[in-house]
């Protein structure tokens, strides 16, 4: 047989032998340890009494307005109240009031507060919201239990009652504080939005004032004015031209007004000055073509003289006076033309600036509208909050109602028992195994023929198995149990027979 197989057989035998040899020790040690843990859990582990109050949170989902504040805030409020109640001063006050723990010095006070915190248990009870609409179908707290655990049942009940009433009181305070805080915040926001809206309104009105003519609504008016000014400009230009022409005709004996005269004979007929200028120009033309004796020349010259006689202009003196009058009139019209041109340029510029002013105006208007909207929102929220405050004040809001008052616990309740027992089981198994292995290691007795032969280096002549005598066989196992039962039966029969005999 290969060495490996021998080794395996040896190991299996060793394991079997180990179990057989140490099972009693294992069971004894395990039983003792487990028994000790049971005893410890039953008698020595601190007995803890728990007293609980159930507090209902009422009116949590009356309407959508209230839901925004209350339903989502109950746990938050519970948390807040718990934190406030578990403050150092409050706990110390309760501890000293009921003489719960030792608080003589700083360290013990700290320990007492920590212990107190550990012994206060708040557990929320969740249920489906009463409002079954899908959007609001979620779990909200409708009640919570407040427990306190300690060694003395009566004290535990008193402390639990005190804590429950403190929770109810604190809830009202916290609720008021929350509304007050919210109101303050909203008021502040309202003020802020109002200031912003005012600033933007001022900006808008200033802008409008600065760009009064360039505003989009002024464009049609501007166009009409431009049209009108253009007409005026034409008229003024005509007048200027006429004056200039007249000046030119007056300057020479025939002037250069022949063209003008021929061009506007109708006008010359009505205006003797124009007719004069026209005739002078005509004479000049005739002289160029004909001699002085040509009848047309003679005729035209006599007509000129006739006209000059009529007009009182004779020679150069008359021409000078007329020129002065013309120039002053010309200056007046030129100035008028310049004014009209300036106004036209201004109006054109304004019309060109129109889109830019429009954009800026839009921006300012949008800012102003936004600010006004925020202001309106803030004002609405504030009024809602004030309305909620009024509702709460009329006791329609969230209320904490103690539906189960804490009672004096009759039986100790210690969830640690199970843990101790579980730990006891594991510890007993471990100790049993440890003791068995230790005993096996410390036991240096001879356990096999190979072992004996290795030590003695002598042949093991035979191996004699353990033989039990009849008495030993009878004393083992179920036979022993049967014997004990029979013995008990006999004794019982004897007692019965004795009783009957007496």
């Amino acid at each position: 047989m290969p060495r490996r197989e021998q080794s395996e057989i040896y190991d299996v035998n060793f394991l079997k032998g180990f179990i057989r040899r140490r099972k009693k020790l294992f069971f004894v040690v395990s039983s003792v340890i487990f028994g000790a843990s049971v005893l410890f859990a039953s008698f020595f582990a601190a007995k803890v009494y728990v007293s609980s109050a159930t507090i209902l949170v009422e009116g949590k989902s009356s309407d959508d307005v209230r839901k925004g504040l209350t339903a989502g805030h109950i746990e938050e409020r519970l948390q807040s109240i718990t934190q406030q109640l578990l403050s150092r001063d409050k706990l110390l006050e309760i501890i000293r009031q009921y003489d719960l723990y030792d608080t003589k010095d700083q360290t013990s006070a700290e320990n007492a507060i920590r212990t107190m915190k550990e012994n206060i248990l708040v557990r929320t009870i969740k249920a489906d919201d009463l409002d079954k609409r899908p959007s609001l179908a979620r779990l909200v707290t409708v009640a919570f239990t407040l427990s306190f655990q300690g060694k003395d049942p009566e004290t535990v009940q008193k402390v639990a009652s005190r804590l429950a009433s403190l929770y109810v009181e604190k809830n009202e305070q916290v609720k008021d504080q929350m509304i007050a805080q919210k109101t303050a915040v909203l008021e502040q926001k309202l003020q802020q939005t109002k200031e912003e809206a005012d600033i933007l309104g001022t900006k808008l009105s200033d802008f409008k004032r600065q760009n009064a003519g360039g505003l989009p609504e002024s464009i049609p008016m501007n166009l009409e004015q431009i049209y009108r000014l253009n007409a005026q400009l034409d008229e003024v230009n005509n007048k200027i031209n006429a004056l200039e022409d007249r000046g030119r005709s007056a300057e020479g004996p025939f002037g250069a007004s022949g063209v003008q005269a021929s061009a506007g004979s109708g006008q010359a007929a009505s205006d003797p000055w124009a007719r004069l200028a026209q005739l002078r120009m005509q004479l000049q033309n005739l002289r160029a073509r004909y001699s002085e004796k040509h009848p047309d020349v003679i005729k035209t010259r006599s007509e000129i003289q006739q006209l000059e006689g009529i007009l009182g202009v004779s020679g150069e003196q008359g021409n000078k006076a007329a020129s002065n009058a013309r120039e002053s009139e010309l200056k007046k019209y030129v100035k008028q033309r310049d004014d009209i041109q300036k106004r036209l340029a201004e109006l054109t510029r304004r019309n060109q600036m129109g889109p830019m002013i429009q954009t800026e105006l839009n921006r300012l208007s949008a800012d102003y509208d936004n600010a006004m909207k925020q202001y309106a929102d803030a004002r609405m929220k504030l009024s809602e909050t004030k309305a909620m405050k009024e509702i709460d004040e009329t006791l329609l809001g969230d209320r904490f109602i103690i539906i189960d008052q804490p009672i004096v616990p009759q039986k100790p309740d210690n969830p640690r028992h199970a843990k101790i027992l579980l730990a006891g089981i594991f510890l007993s198994l471990f100790c049993g195994l440890f003791a068995s292995i230790l005993a096996e290691n410390l036991d240096n007795s001879i356990k096999s023929a190979d072992h004996l032969q290795r030590i003695t280096k002598l042949p093991v002549l035979t191996i004699v198995p353990l033989m039990k005598s009849d008495e030993e066989k009878a004393a083992s196992g179920h036979k022993q149990m049967v014997r004990i039962l029979e013995d008990l039966k006999r004794r019982a029969q004897r007692v019965v027979s004795k009783g009957q005999g007496s």
Binding site: N444, S445, K447, Q453, T456, L458, V460, L461, T462, S469
Partner: protein, 273 residues
């Protein structure tokens, strides 16, 4: 094959060897007037039945033997273990013409006496040999208890001169098997066993009959000097070791004490499983 083995085989063939049969067969008392040492051996290969003249025949209760785990009356399997041991010892000792050995152990309670008895009975099953089992643990003699015998004179009484040898030898009702009980418990056992009277007795027992085999049940080595004294007179020493009880150190001490003695081997006793 040895002569003894041949005899054994022949005897088995003739009549069928059964431990139970032998145990239950109680021979009639030998005629009075003859000493135990005058048992006349018959040298033929047929069942040898000595007639005891001086040796007292005290038939033992088979139930007492069974309850005391004497394998001769127990199961065949248990008896076979003793046959193996017997064969091994025969190979080691008797082949050399020697006829005595000592059974001892490191500590009390390891099974010396029972091993001695079972081995002796196993030897007695050989048809041409007689066996004498001597309880030399005269501080705490226990041999007689295994046979259900009450307190009676034994080796110690003989050594202090209070009894004759024929008064202390007992045949417990088994063929070819005689026991010498320890007698009254004495504390000076080592001195008595080292006395000339004991030396004389030993020589007489060993040399008087060549077909007799003598087994000495001794006190433990680590608690008494008796085995040391006896070891000078025996041809072999068998050390009984109790499984899962006898410590390695104790076995080593025994071997150290018996360093120069004729230790022939060990028996691992009470092995479980």
């Amino acid at each position: 094959m040895s002569r003894l083995k041949k005899a054994l085989e022949k005897a088995k063939k003739d009549r069928g060897d059964s431990a139970v049969d032998l145990a239950n067969r109680i021979d009639p008392a030998p005629p009075p007037g003859e000493g135990v040492l005058s048992v006349v051996p018959q040298r033929e290969y047929r069942p040898f039945k000595p007639e005891y003249s001086c040796t007292q025949v005290v038939p033992c209760d088979p139930d007492a033997l069974r309850s005391n785990r004497v394998v001769a009356v127990c199961t065949e399997d248990e008896a076979n273990k003793m046959k193996i041991l017997r064969t091994q010892i025969m190979n080691l000792i008797m082949e050399q013409g020697k006829n005595s050995f000592l059974v001892t152990s490191a500590n009390p309670g390891e099974g010396k006496t029972l091993t001695s008895i079972n081995l002796a009975i196993s030897f007695s099953h050989q048809l041409n040999k007689t066996v004498l089992l001597v309880d030399t643990d005269i501080r705490k003699p226990t041999l007689h208890k295994f046979f259900g015998l009450g307190d009676r004179p034994g080796l110690s009484d003989y050594l202090i001169g209070k009894a004759r040898i024929q008064d202390v030898l007992i045949n417990p009702g088994l063929d070819r098997f005689v026991i010498l009980p320890g007698g009254r418990p004495l504390t000076n056992s080592t001195e008595l066993l080292a006395s000339p009277r004991m030396t004389f007795l030993l020589n007489e027992m060993k040399q008087r009959y060549d077909n007799r085999f003598i087994i000495f049940d001794s006190a433990p080595v680590l608690t008494s000097a008796d085995p040391m004294v006896l070891s000078n007179h025996v041809d072999g020493i068998l050390i009984v070791v109790e499984a899962e009880k006898t410590k390695r150190e104790d076995v080593k001490k025994v071997l150290e004490v018996m360093r120069d003695k004729p230790v022939i081997g060990t028996v691992l006793n009470k092995l479980v499983g």
